[in-house]
């Protein structure tokens, strides 16, 4: 079964909906028309660009090029994670935590999927590795940033309680354990919501895309289930990594609470 290929005219017709939005904005004085048009343009330019990049990397079929692109995606995602929290760690450690938590989670889950469940030939084939890394990154970015934000925020707010425990001889690990747990919990909630709503409230994007592209619904469903498992694994790992690394950064060899390392 071949996917129905879209012609420029098909897309132009759909683009008229953007003009409809803009017209609405003018009519109702929402003052959003410029934003709608620029966002739509940006989206088109970005997606066409990534289309060319993907086509290029696919044609290279070189593991090093694939790895480089994935690393680049990890860097961008890690930067986003680091940019979210209201309170940040001083120096490079903040960025390092963002990048390594999403990188670790993405590589672990993507490698697992590529070498066991999906098994393309070769396992690092860019057509599989890059989109898979991309979708995992998108989710993992979310969970890592929620977890990091939650940990830094709660530890800062609960300073008195944490220091009271430290002062009584409790280890730093025990004193911050509730906040590490809370942060990981926070990072896992979105994927739990996503899984509970899948198929009932929402038709997940990947599945919809595959069905539209002509795949049998049951095949699409199997892929979606696999992806959900990967995403939940990735979310857990990245939330865990972000929370533990941030907590570790907030203490030192004498198990003090080092809030001076927060901006």
């Amino acid at each position: 079964m071949n996917p129905i290929s879209l012609t420029p005219i098909d897309i132009a017709i759909a683009a008229s909906l953007i003009l409809l939005d803009a017209a609405l904005s003018l009519l109702l004085r929402l003052r959003l028309h410029v934003q709608i048009l620029t966002a739509a343009m940006r989206m088109v330019v970005q997606l066409v660009a990534i289309g060319f990049v993907l086509r290029f990397v696919f044609s290279l079929d070189n593991p090093a090029a694939t790895l480089l692109l994935v690393l680049l995606m990890v860097l961008v995602a890690g930067r986003e994670v680091a940019a979210r929290p209201e309170h940040r760690l001083r120096g490079y450690s903040h960025l390092v935590i963002g990048i390594s938590s999403v990188g670790f989670a993405t590589f672990t889950t993507a490698l697992l999927a590529l070498t066991t469940a999906i098994r393309p030939q070769p396992w690092y084939a860019p057509q599989y590795a890059i989109p898979l890394a991309g979708i995992i990154l998108g989710n993992v970015l979310n969970s890592a940033s929620l977890s990091l934000d939650s940990l830094l925020d709660t530890v800062r707010r609960e300073r008195l309680g944490i220091e009271a425990r430290l002062a009584l001889g409790t280890s730093f690990h025990d004193a911050v354990a509730p906040f590490v747990r809370g942060a990981i919990r926070r990072g896992l909630l979105p994927i739990i919501n996503q899984m509970s709503a899948a198929g009932v409230v929402t038709l997940p994007g990947i599945m919809t895309g595959q069905i539209l592209a002509g795949l049998d619904p049951m095949e699409a469903v199997k892929y979606q289930i696999l992806l959900m498992f990967l995403l939940s694994g990735g979310s857990g790992l990245s939330a865990l990594a972000a929370a533990y690394m941030a907590a570790w950064r907030l203490t030192d060899e004498r198990q003090r609470l080092r809030l001076d390392r927060l901006q």
């Binding site: 309680g161 009584l168 003090r256």
Partner: protein, 202 residues
């Protein structure tokens, strides 16, 4: 003279010190001085809660030779503003120390049923006394008390001082930061003044 229970050698940080200081077993050093002069910092540095350099000894044992947790178990800092980490008061006390905690709370004039209450129900003064009880049940060798009676009425101050005096008689050493010159006279075996991060005998 008895060997010092606590000795502080060249304890310093960019913000305060250097401090050289000795405290005998059963002695109480009363430290007073204006706000922001480094009194709390001094206590926190001894407890190793703030970054610092220098050495502190408990008896003959250097602080650097033991894990921070064991040090703070023996040398307990009680902050001026008490911190709480669980919803219920009782969860802040070691589970096997309930009877002793109750006795101590009672001696400080805290209604015993408050032990089973929620922390949000405590008044500032009750919190301050229960934070002291929490530190006392572990029977540390050294207590670092940061204005332990600041939020207490006269009667509660009397009860608290009586309990501290009893601890001193049993050999506990206390570094007491206080704004009350009379309290410094009542409890302090030696009195010090902190000014601009320097400690001097008063």
């Amino acid at each position: 003279m008895m060997r010092a229970a606590l000795s502080v050698k060249q304890l310093r940080s960019p913000l305060a010190g250097p401090f050289d200081f000795e405290l005998a077993a059963g002695a109480c050093a009363a430290v007073s001085g204006p706000s922001g002069s480094g009194k709390s910092l001094f206590l926190r540095m001894i407890a190793d809660l703030d970054p610092n350099e220098g050495e502190v000894f408990l008896g003959a044992v250097p602080r650097s030779s033991m894990p921070a947790t064991r040090w703070r178990h023996n040398v307990v800092y009680v902050a001026a503003q008490s911190g709480w980490w669980a919803d219920k008061v009782i969860d802040h006390f070691p589970p096997d120390c309930r009877a002793r905690s109750t006795t101590l709370a009672e001696r400080l004039g805290v209604p015993v049923d408050l032990l089973d209450a929620a922390v949000v129900r405590l008044s500032t003064g009750e919190k301050q006394r229960l934070a002291l009880v929490r530190a006392l049940v572990g029977e540390p060798a050294v207590l670092l008390l940061d204005e332990p009676t600041a939020a207490l009425d006269e009667h509660a101050v009397t009860l608290t001082e009586a309990l501290l005096r009893e601890r001193l008689a049993n050999g506990t050493s206390i570094v007491l930061v206080t704004h009350d010159p009379d309290q410094a006279l009542r409890l302090g075996t030696r009195r010090y003044r902190m000014a601009a991060g320097k400690l001097e005998a008063a």
